[in-house]
């Protein structure tokens, strides 16, 4: 018990220090970034959604490795859950689980709506909230609903992973196209002075690729878990 009280005291010290620094921060607060993005953001990138502008243009390098983390995690989860024993032999877990009928009907209704919403979010990432990562996650959730409808669905994980890796290579290629058109790595391949509608082509393309990659990656992750839980 004294151990826990001491711990709470320690955390209390951290809390006090943080509170004091927050009070100090109010006078130091620097909003250079906010002003920059407000004034230049749209002209630079052609994206009305400034978050997408940052993710796909100003800090595209981060986003590439964000997708890379997903790629690595997918391969890692699959590797850890993979059995050396043939997969056919491993299909022995009980399948007592049965989705209620009402839920199945409801899922059938929701599934296409969700898929459509996901694609909407992906494609309109540069004008409204959303983008490749968010839309991809929604699409993955929609695919997850498919598993509720049919619990015994078979998925070819190997194929999905291969497609995912290829899409990642394509994303890298698309991101570095700008080097050949304007000599700068990882930005829009249209020059900054181009028409915003033209620049939107690049944003939509990249959003679609990232969306697919994220959707496939999350799909693989939960398929691996579902297999584990069966």
């Amino acid at each position: 018990m004294s151990r826990r009280l001491f711990l709470i005291a320690m955390l209390g010290v951290l809390f006090v220090v943080f509170t004091l620094s927050m009070i100090e921060l109010e006078s130091l607060y620097n909003n250079y970034g906010m002003r920059y993005f407000l004034n230049e953001g749209f002209d630079d990138t052609g994206s009305r959604n400034l978050v997408t502008a940052i993710l796909l243009d100003y800090r595209l390098f981060d986003s590439l490795f964000e997708a890379g983390i997903l790629l690595i995690a997918v391969s890692g989860v699959i590797w850890i859950s993979k059995h050396d024993v043939e997969e056919k032999n491993a299909q022995f877990m009980l399948d007592k689980y049965k989705t209620p009928d009402l839920f199945v009907t409801f899922s059938r209704l929701v599934y296409p709506l969700m898929l459509a919403f996901g694609f909407y979010v992906i494609i309109n990432g540069h004008v409204s909230p959303g983008g490749g990562f968010q839309g991809g996650a929604i699409v993955a959730t929609a695919i997850l609903i498919l598993y509720y409808i049919d619990g015994n669905k078979e998925t070819n994980i190997g194929l999905i992973v291969t497609i995912e890796k290829i899409i990642y290579l394509l994303i890298i290629l698309l991101a570095s196209l700008s080097f050949f058109t304007r000599g700068e790595f990882f930005t829009n391949f249209f020059v900054p002075s181009a028409n915003p509608d033209l620049k939107a082509i690049y944003l939509v393309l990249l959003n679609v690729f990232i969306g697919f990659k994220v959707a496939l990656g999350l799909w693989t992750i939960f398929t691996a878990f579902l297999k584990e839980g069966r």
Binding site: L7, T19, N49, A53, A73, S81, P129
Partner: protein
Amino acid sequence: MNPILTFIVILIGFYGLSTSDNIIKSVFCVTIIESGVILLFLNLGNFEGGAIPILNDHLVDIVDPLPQALMITTIVIGSTVTALSLMLCIKIFHHYGTVEWAEVLRREDVKS
């Protein structure tokens, strides 16, 4: 005020990490800390009367979009960490028959 309340959430996460004896509980706590950090970043980026960072035709004061972009990255990172650690948890339970930290670390490595 809000950042301070969020920091309490982070501290609760750390409290959980340093008292929980269960592996799954520790993964929960890391999730809590991660959500807390995201919220802290957004709290600090937000200000009274700010608008969402999507430009309209008329110019208004928007909140800083950079923290939001960074936090999307953090959400993806956090979810992959959670997925990986939970997969490891499943394997540990299968191997050691328990997910208590103390028991798992105490089990001798038996080798033939």
